[in-house]
Symmetry: C2
Subunit: 419 residues, 2 copies
């Protein structure tokens, strides 16, 4: 017997992204201009984004071809393996069959390079020489640094100051790939920062220079589009394993990109339950309001229709920095509002318990973000046990925790705080 | 075009290890008892090792079957990908074709679990409930911790004190997998320690308890045997890629396990050059003497026929902790002495230059140990350019550097010392 781990060859990588916009339960409301509150047009976005990405943001084509240069880079680590978590199943004594898509094998250690590579490509193709962005825990900044190096572009990362000071090693990795890393907020040296504030810094920088654009690691439609390669591969791999389609597809959710990546290709399959796992300290989908709100703290970005805790909300400093965002992707918000997707929230101690159980059964150490989806998966598997039902669970192992070991140290020593 | 990255499915994993002992250029001299200086027999080793491993240590069978339970665990991450480093080739402008075996995707992030899993299995099969070991930079202790968890065994890791204090995150990873980690030497609290001293601590502990054995992460014949799965997979993958056999096979060399793993299956192919890359601050193969010496500092272990700098040699604290060992595997030493394998030595700054070039072309961040083989590969590729010859280079990317970012920080800030 060998582990059920399904690999695809590099020439079996999907060659088009899946666009969920045409099949959403209700049409997506447009982003609004922050000053006029009128729908934004391509020209409004052009100072920050290339036309290639702006077109994807509103496209209603069901499939969008992946450029060859993007595929070429993605195949450095894609297709990623689909693994059946048999050891976790045995530990839980569940009749559920648990599969995870392992996105931790990318150079940056998470799913984030899937869109970083695409965004760098489209910007470079339109002559842009430099990108700015924000990063919280550092996964996104790391991914964009990697992508910019590959396309010969400069990259400046505004990093939430609390993370910048707590995680110097993340900075070293970004610097190794040639990026400049600046703690944010830039004009308030004592402030711990937030993702919303760092977005403000990055957008301000990009808006002021013609050679520079801004790149966002989540929330926007084109970002989720680029991540759908995860779910497309997973569906093919389940079929290769002789498995039926999943009963439940799960992902952790901050802005929504890794969840969207694995879940969106299954939106048309109405029998498939879709589940978002978020932190109870930043419970956007479970307790937020659905309304137009800004993407950043200062109100520079367009207003987006989404679940939000308010753009001035600063979440407690939980270790899953990638889930500390006041809003959610409009696409994810649309699905939740329509009842097509469920959401659950967990305190961080419960997510670390799940992460450690995963590490001790399946081997790999999860990122704190991934601990949230693993908590949800374990609970679903235990519910299947209670119901004595063979359910097929599919989740996204969105990143490893090798740069988050201080968080595990806090967990082992009882220093975690459940906000 | 997509990246040339050759994957094998889990059911294509090699099912037997390649035993180089029958095909060595000259017969291997036996280990000698530390007190009597007579060849050691199985009974001399039984307090420390299970009979399953002792038998492998002296077996002359050309192939040794891999137990099913070991294969089952190895397929959590094996077969590992073989990647053509086309971006590095282009950056160098070389006609050489460079392939690397990516061993960084294991749960522990290196090749070490290949033997850790096997050693835990054979010990558990003979009723042993606890293993002790030493670790330098932490790769081996991490791997054995992972393996012991999987087999329900306890594990105590004696970690070189300098690393224990510099790398708390390594300790957290081992503790997450349930291990106890103790700084070494245990009886000299102010001493920075060395691998030789930590071996002494681990052997003493194991010799004193009937439920406990000792596990070594390199040097011994059975350890190199377990690593041959790397070279066996690589040979098959080169064939799948339509590539001819390699002209040169390279690995970094501390004790010799990752180098042995990729190189030993090619020993019978006399046209294939084999190259060991070691640190110039611990130049065992390039300047050491070939003689019988102890494996540890205190002289508790059997005497082994090997290149050595003397068992009391304490190498400078370079970042590639896995290469800081006074001796070398008897198998590797045998090959070098017979002229079947070459050795080169590099100062650490040159290896970090190579590692950063790799990170900026191929994406993945190398462990400092891997920086040594990448330095050698780049030099071979430039030699091929000079000679205008299409040479096929194969090397082992033995681990990632995500837990060694402080070393890269030192490199970026000009703080590296070339001893």
């Amino acid at each position: 017997m060998s582990t059920s781990r399904v690999t695809l060859s590099t020439d079996e990588i999907p060659t088009a992204w899946f666009n969920v916009l045409p099949v959403l339960p209700t049409p997506l409301d447009p982003p609004l201009h922050p000053a006029t509150r009128q729908p934004v047009g391509p020209d409004d976005l052009a100072p920050l984004f290339p036309m290639g990405l702006i077109a994807q943001e509103v496209s209603t084509d069901p499939w969008i071809d992946i450029p060859g240069a993007v595929l070429d880079l993605l195949t450095l680590w894609r297709p990623t393996p689909l693994v059946r978590a048999e050891r976790l199943e045995r530990a839980l004594g569940t009749p559920a069959r648990i599969y995870y898509k392992d996105e931790s094998g990318s150079p940056a250690g998470s799913h984030k390079p899937n869109t970083a590579v695409a965004q760098a490509f489209y910007n470079r193709a339109e002559g842009i020489e430099r990108l700015t962005t924000e990063t919280g825990a550092g996964q996104w900044g790391t991914a964009l640094s990697f992508a910019c190096t590959q396309f010969g572009m400069d990259c400046t990362v505004y990093m939430v100051r609390a993370s910048y000071e707590q995680k110097p090693y993340r900075t070293v990795l970004m610097e190794t790939w040639g990026s400049e890393v600046i703690p944010s907020p830039v004009d308030e040296p004592g402030h711990p920062g937030s993702l919303g504030l760092a977005i403000t810094d990055a957008v301000r920088d990009a808006a002021g220079r013609a050679d520079t654009h801004y790149a966002l690691g989540s929330v926007l439609n084109h970002v989720l589009l680029h991540q759908t390669i995860i779910g497309l591969e997973a569906r093919e791999q389940l079929a290769r394993a002789g498995e039926r389609g999943p009963d439940v597809v799960l992902g952790c959710c901050g802005g929504g990109s890794n969840l969207g990546g694995i879940a969106l290709p299954f939106v048309p399959d109405e029998a498939v339950r879709l589940v978002a796992a978020e932190p109870s300290s930043c419970p956007t989908l479970t307790t937020g309001r659905f309304e137009y709100d800004f993407g950043d703290s200062a109100g520079l970005t367009p207003l987006l229709p989404m679940y939000t805790l308010g753009h001035e909300f600063v979440p407690p400093p939980i270790h899953a920095g990638g889930l500390r965002y006041h809003g959610d992707a409009p696409i994810i918000s649309n699905l939740v509002k329509a009842g097509r997707m469920e959401a659950v929230a967990y305190p961080q101690t419960a997510t670390f318990e799940a992460a450690v159980q995963f590490a001790n059964t399946e081997g790999k150490l999860p990122a704190p973000e991934a601990g949230h989806v693993i908590r949800a998966v374990i609970d679903e598997a235990l519910a299947a046990k209670e119901a004595d039902e063979e359910r097929v669970l599919l989740f996204n192992f969105c990143g490893h925790g090798l740069l988050d070991l201080s968080a595990y140290d806090d967990y082992h020593r009882g220093r975690l705080i459940d906000a």
